[in-house]
């Protein structure tokens, strides 16, 4: 009996609330493993996890690598700069090549939406989406949910404000999908040019172009990184203007609910999304998110690789 509906984790869609709860519950146990003197358990000994990264990413790749290693799996990193991907190999051929190496899981980050789904159709092993284009980043949403539940004691009935470049953000999409599914009141806020017109309807959230109504009595504020590399003049004239209108100040934080927390997927632009000194405010849970990231990814590897075996084993 598998606890998850699929052998892959490609997006939040398809996960029911009980699956999310099962992942978060398992992650609690793995958080404890990361705090022991010996931060390694033998659970996935002999398993192989390939991290296939077509985009630069230090934290997500490191987090997945640590998660695999703390479970005693062998983790191999393939990044675009050092592989035949640069030499023009197609994703299909890469998939087939990987298959021949008999991995138990492939973790993929890719600039094109849907690349992990393509890989999943061609690989027998588990595929985990570590971020695809603007589409989804499910492990980030799960680690955010874990951090929220750990801080506030629950992951439903909360007002959550997601601030920034919603349009280009896979973090925003996966978080909206997960948080609305768990029964939260989700608000997105940013310049109108950076919130797609159909976003409210597609995700069942409320959109704002001013921070005040979104942050009023919010339990969770999730700041997104302004991705300088993705901004054109037409969407946003300058970072300074953005900081003035959408940067979170102390006065704005005072509008939040009493025990509110502030999240950021990193890396943070101090002075853009948030006033520099507020990044270290007591409400900030940024470092808890990093710790949660390893625990949640350990839970997923355990549930996807460990159990895909047990479900096929004869009884």
């Amino acid at each position: 009996m598998s606890q998850l509906p699929s052998r892959d984790l490609l997006e939040i869609d398809g996960l029911e609330p009980q699956h999310v709860t099962a992942i978060l519950d398992s992650a609690e146990a793995f958080l404890e493993v990361s705090r022991r003197p010996v931060r390694k358990v033998p659970t996935l000994r002999g398993k192989t996890v390939i991290n296939l990264f077509y985009e630069n990413s230090t934290r997500t790749r490191t987090s997945f690598e640590l998660a695999a290693k703390r479970l005693s799996a062998d983790a191999v990193n393939m990044s675009v700069a050092t592989s035949s991907i640069k030499k023009g190999e197609s994703l299909y051929d890469t998939a087939k090549t990987l298959e021949a190496m008999h991995p138990d899981a492939v973790v993929i980050r890719h600039p094109e939406s849907g690349a992990p789904h393509f890989l999943a159709r061609h690989l027998r092993c588990a595929v985990i989406n570590a971020g695809d284009g603007m589409h989804a980043h499910p492990t980030q949403a799960l680690l955010d949910a874990f951090t929220i539940r750990k801080s506030l004691g629950r992951i439903s009935g909360l007002k959550v404000a997601i601030c920034g470049d919603i349009a280009h953000s896979r973090v925003a999409r996966s978080n909206c999908a997960l948080l609305t599914r768990m029964g939260n009141d989700v608000h997105v806020v940013g310049p109108r040019t950076l919130i797609p017109p159909d976003f409210e309807k597609a995700f069942g959230v409320t959109a704002h172009d001013r921070l005040e109504p979104a942050l009023q009595d919010a339990d969770v504020v999730m700041l997104l990184r302004i991705q300088r590399e993705r901004l054109g003049e037409a969407l946003l004239p300058s970072l300074r203007e953005y900081a003035r209108t959408f940067g979170v100040s102390r006065a704005l934080l005072d509008r939040l609910a009493p025990n509110a927390i502030v999240l950021h997927p990193g890396p943070m632009n101090r002075g853009v999304e948030i006033e520099p000194e507020l990044a270290d405010d007591k409400r900030s849970r940024v470092l808890d998110q990093v710790e949660a990231g390893v625990a949640v990814r350990m839970a997923l590897l355990y549930m996807l690789i460990g159990e895909s075996q047990s479900s096929r084993a004869p009884t």
Binding site: D25, E32, P37, G306, P314
Partner: protein, 180 residues
């Protein structure tokens, strides 16, 4: 006493409430006598060992209440490929310093020894104890690894297919055996 369960197989009470009580008391006095005044702590093997470890702790004199930790061995199993139907992992927590300590591992029923092997491995990830002892309420035989308990409540020899259940509900404690 033999009764038929709803499944039609035979359920036999091996230890009733007073026998369970006697077994717990004798285990705790043996533990005290043997490990004496050394720095020790109890570590229960989840989930079956926890209720027994709590009982053992309660039956110790007030000034010798040992600290109690717990380990979940799911992550250390040697049969992960054919594991339990509900693989949810419980919390592991050892609230005392394992380094150099005498530790008593506690489980309700011992059979193959594989669970104990996994629990020992888990405890060693918290530090290097001076010695690990092992206390079990029922040793039912059927060992597959060379592991021998130091403290045993009741020794039985049962067919491998029999099931032994320990119930610690206050006032209704009992150990039963079900032939299959």
């Amino acid at each position: 006493m033999n009764v038929k369960s709803e499944l039609g197989d035979s359920v036999e009470t091996i230890l009733d409430a007073s026998a369970v009580d006697r077994a717990v008391k004798s285990l705790s006095s043996e533990i005290l006598a043997c490990v004496g005044s050394r720095a020790i702590g109890l570590v229960a093997i989840q989930r079956g060992g926890l209720a027994l470890a709590e009982r053992l702790r309660e039956s110790l004199p007030n000034d010798q209440r040992l600290p109690l930790g717990r380990v979940d061995i799911s992550l250390y199993r040697d049969d992960a490929a054919t594991s339990l139907p509900d693989p949810r992992i419980g919390p592991s927590q050892i609230p005392f310093d394992v380094e150099g300590a005498d530790i008593v591992l506690v489980d309700d029923v011992m059979q193959t020894g594989r669970t104990v092997r996994a629990a020992i491995h888990c405890v060693l990830d918290y530090g290097r104890p001076r010695r690990i002892w092992l206390a079990v309420l029922v040793d039912r035989g059927g060992r597959e690894l060379p592991i021998v308990p130091d403290f045993i409540g009741e020794t039985l020899t049962l067919p491998a297919s029999d099931r032994v259940d320990v119930d610690f509900h206050p006032g209704a404690e009992r150990v039963t055996r079900r032939a299959r």
